[in-house]
Symmetry: none
Subunit: 188 residues, 4 copies
DNA sequence: TATGAATGAGCTTTCATTCAT
DNA sequence: TATGAATGAAAGCTCATTCAT
């Protein structure tokens, strides 16, 4: 792994677990076994590093997503949705990826970070809309745009509550009821 | 208004708009026309001030909520739920209270703040569980605890997406579909 | 005990155990169950309080000393000296008075405190010289002024080493050898 | 001289003349022509700087001492002791080193500093014990441990009284009488 | 006498960032 | 590419002191 990768990796971990503001460049150096000079050689400043972290994180999450959704084409809409949801819940249970999602919510809800990353956030959101809306569109009588917004929001809410819960959040049970609920609503 | 109130008010405003970490004590002093000494006279440290802000915000939000939920007793479960949800959506549209909700999500997703307020957050969460679960319990065949967790999560998600969306988030439409969906699920 | 006395007592205790610079007026207030206003009503400022503490401490130590040395007149010089020394060692073993001596050494060795109290320190030193010199004068061939200086210094050294030793300083044994040594030197 | 050396040197001078608590990091920076950042880059915190100062002072004092005590081996016990004592008195008369000894007493008698340096103080004390005890051991019928404690205490006392005396302390005369006294006691 | 709110200077420490090597 | 010494602004916080009550 290149020094740049090491730094990025350390930043992801610390931003997620300690928070962006609370993570000092020094701490990242310690974690990455790199020098301050190296950090500022590869990233113009802390804000650039933040953007790089966000981009890399999105890549990682998508890499997993893409590979799974490849074999989905032949299924019915409700099945495709169930599949997508299962995959999302799966991925946020993964301890490795849990951190990325946690970091995501930090970014969303912190005014300073959010405005620094607004463009990237919007891109990401559009990507999600693009994967849900076509599915929801196949169900007649639904305003698929609103439904897609709502679905994204619901997933976000469950994710957030799960990710930041201290102890025993019943994610598995909620996942099952949530998917079942959508099956019912979609008339499957 | 006492100096303590001035400080608290300034902190509420700045924490909500700028974020906790980005708000310096100096900024609060400027805003409140108070000295640093005064801040630390009334609040042991910045964390204590954060707690005071969190508590005060919860009070403000609840003051509105309580008055509304007074006339709910005679209604059926689905109606009571619809009422509750409408009130929540109403309150987070209020521009004054919007900021408090935004701050809430900041607190939830920032590790440092969250752990400083964990006890208060847990209390709040339990209060929400206690208002939803009895309603959901009236619908047979549902695991009302899991359902209450899910409902809270869904509301959180919609709130978060609305609160931090830049421009034109279709909150009203989502609200309607969301309430309708629950009516369907509850068999009303 | 009057509030002024309470404050003085609290100051003595804290100055001795925590050090003058490390002891805040607030800490004294807590300890004395008094308000800041009360402290500054009775003592013009922290330096005046320091002086008052030093004076009061000297009084307390002397009160004990005077009562003991009253019955000394008939004795021989070596006996009078032994008596004096025993009394001094006695008094610094007393846990109550230990603090006063500790405070004394702090004052002596801290440039800032020392210069604030120089006049009182000089008075005190002269008092000690006046009690040792007459005794040492009775021994021919001794330069009693130098001998008195030396004796004071030796006592100070033993006191300091004892007072600030963490655990098991052999004060009793040193006291015995020290007194015996002086008996030998005085030809008793 | 490296910046670290400059800072250490400035700290040594200011701690000795103004006292540890009264010396602010800012003052050290001014004195050393360094920035605050530089101070905390080289020393974790003010306490670490204090430790470094203490260690460096001990080195300076020992450098002088070691060179002198080299030619002592062939002498008798009383002569070796006289030699040691003379060297100690010599070294504390040196205006350069006087400050370091003064600082030493500050450290001893200030609870906060003392506890921050307890381990180093203990080491130092043990070293002194190890140089006095073997000499005192050669005189039969003496409890050499107690005697060594006492001797150290006496030297400390003389040193302290001399170092903090305003004007005309008869150090030379006391030195002579003190050494003579020990010669007598050791039966030389 | 006594209270404690309020002040503001100053403290130690942190931090992003720069730059000579 | 990489290092880490150095900077200086700004942070949170402490503290002696004042003053209206």
């Amino acid at each position: 792994m290149s020094k740049k990768q090491q730094i990025l990796q350390a930043a992801i971990e610390l931003f997620a677990t300690e928070g962006y503001e609370k993570t000092s460049i020094s701490a990242i150096c310690d974690h990455a076994k790199a020098s301050k000079g190296a950090v500022f050689h590869h990233f113009k400043n802390k804000d650039e590093l933040l953007r790089a972290v966000f981009v890399r994180m999105a890549e990682i999450i998508n890499e997993v997503g893409d590979s799974v959704s490849a074999g989905n084409e032949g299924l019915s809409a409700p099945e495709r949705l169930a599949c997508l949801l299962e995959q999302i819940f799966e991925s946020m249970s993964d301890p490795e990826q849990k951190r990325y999602y946690q970091f995501d919510f930090q970014v969303m809800s912190q005014p300073a970070m959010r405005s620094a990353l607004q463009d990237l956030i919007d891109q990401r959101y559009q990507l999600m809309m693009d994967s849900f809306q076509p599915i929801l569109q196949e169900i007649p009588s639904a305003d698929s745009v609103v439904d897609a917004h709502m679905l994204i929001a619901e997933i976000d809410g469950i994710a957030m509550n799960y990710l930041f819960a201290e102890g025993d959040y019943p994610l598995k049970e909620i996942q099952q009821r949530f998917i079942r609920k959508y099956r019912v609503l979609l008339g499957a």
